[in-house]
């Protein structure tokens, strides 16, 4: 399982966000370059359609692959009330043949994206990952060298934390609490429930940039 919130931020404020995150997390950022290939089962395969994501980390000298299955969100009155999405998620590292294997099994390319940016991995009540990236589409099949932003000038911010059915309440609280620190720059919410950019972003960013993050927001 994982807990997830997302938000968007204008590219011009990403540097300020990075300064804020650096101060909050106490760790250095890591570069992110992930080619995300989303596959869907062909028309006859499975009694219900299925989707699987193959993530290729192209930042490594030797690209590494991860298979990711994102399942349904937690449902019910309790789930409606919390501001963080809790959903099933299973990942597995895989060797480089993974795309060939899924094609041979009858999966087809649904869409592919290139995410470029940075991540922070740290612990604050739970192991949390903040990813700030531009989402790019490829003009030709698998051509990561020729990718263009899906939303120029806007980047996606995602905060995720692994969870189990026993501890998800604590993880939700940790993620929610962390997100409050980012509120002056961006609003984070459940994926699919975006509220757009925040009006305080410009002022908050200016403040962060002027004294390198010394200001308490």
């Amino acid at each position: 399982m994982e807990c997830v919130v997302q938000g968007i931020i204008e590219t011009q404020y990403v540097e300020a966000l990075e300064i804020l995150l650096q101060g909050l997390c106490g760790v250095h950022r890591q570069r992110l370059g992930v080619h995300e290939i989303c596959l869907k089962s062909g028309p006859n395969l499975g009694f219900v359609a299925s989707e699987v994501r193959l993530l290729c980390d192209i930042e490594q000298a030797e690209p590494t692959w991860t298979v990711k299955h994102v399942g349904g969100a937690m449902r019910g009155a309790g789930a409606e009330q919390i501001s963080v999405l809790v959903r099933s998620m299973v990942e597995s590292k895989a060797s480089k043949n993974v795309l060939r294997l899924f094609y041979a099994l009858g999966y087809k390319l649904d869409y592919e994206l290139l995410r470029v940016g940075f991540t922070f991995h740290f612990h604050r009540g739970a192991p949390i990952t903040v990813t700030v990236s531009s989402v790019n589409k490829m003009l030709k099949l698998h051509a990561t060298d020729e990718a263009v932003p899906v939303t120029p000038g806007i980047q996606l911010v995602e905060v995720t934390a692994p969870a189990t059915s026993e501890n998800y309440n604590e993880v939700v609280a940790a993620v929610s609490s962390f997100c409050e620190y980012l509120a002056p720059l961006l609003h984070l919410s459940k994926p699919g429930a975006s509220t757009g950019v925040v009006p305080t972003a410009a002022a908050a960013a200016a403040s962060l940039m002027s004294d390198g993050g010394g200001t308490t927001l």
Partner: protein, 222 residues
């Protein structure tokens, strides 16, 4: 990692495998001073596609196998023999396949038995049985040479050892012999340096031989 050859018991025409043969083979290992060390088990699963229209079954692979190996407890291996694809993944890939529900387990077999130390060699003798059954379907043997990881550099010593082994077994006049047919690893994109992916490919090929000999036995009886 050290390389190994996986050998498959090939019954003579008209005969089948039985536990007496398995006992005799184990005694052979001990007769050449193999020291029994402990148990081992590998599990092989046949997957079948879940199709809304069975008439289109030919469009999907029928040889999709998954294997777990005792020397890699956190890994799982997929093989598509017809496509010459082998994949190494974390064990969690099995959970992903369950969630996808596009392929399900059709039958699972255990390869299990004892392992023996014999100088620089580690030998494993194993029965092939369906999970939750004691119905013996075959016998396999692993011959691992610990000092070397290169398939080519080890070829001569492995040939010599297997010759000695075949000779020892033949003295017991059993109705069959061990067979080693090395798959073309380069077809699978595998190099000379031995890995668990090579082992997974060998087991997939041994499985094909087992199925062929069972089918040949059935044909002979009909």
């Amino acid at each position: 990692m050290p390389l190994k050859w996986v050998l498959n018991w090939q019954p003579n025409a008209g005969s089948t495998v039985n536990s007496q043969i398995l006992n005799e083979v184990s005694q052979c290992v001990e007769s050449i001073n193999g020291v029994k060390e402990g148990r081992w088990k590998a599990t092989l699963t046949f997957y079948k596609p879940m199709l809304r229209d069975q008439a289109l079954a030919a469009d999907f692979p029928r040889d999709f196998l998954g294997i777990s190996l005792p020397e890699q407890p956190n890994k799982y291996y997929f093989i598509l023999r017809g496509h010459k694809i082998v994949l190494e993944a974390d064990s969690s890939i099995q959970l992903i396949m369950e969630k996808l529900q596009s392929y399900k387990s059709r039958v699972a077999l255990n390869f299990e038995g004892f392992q023996y130390q014999l100088g620089d060699f580690q030998l494993r003798v194993g029965k092939v049985v369906p999970t939750h059954s004691e119905n013996l379907r075959g016998i396999v043997m692993e011959v691992e040479y610990l000092p070397i990881s290169s398939l080519e550099k080890s070829r001569q010593i492995m040939d010599e050892f297997v010759d000695i082994w075949q000779d020892t077994v033949s003295k017991r006049s059993l109705p069959g012999h061990f067979l080693h047919i090395e798959p073309n690893f380069s077809d699978y994109g595998l190099a000379d340096h031995y890995t668990s992916q090579h082992t997974a490919v060998q087991y997939a090929h041994v499985m094909a031989q087992l199925i062929a000999s069972v089918q040949a036995g059935q044909a002979a009886r009909n």
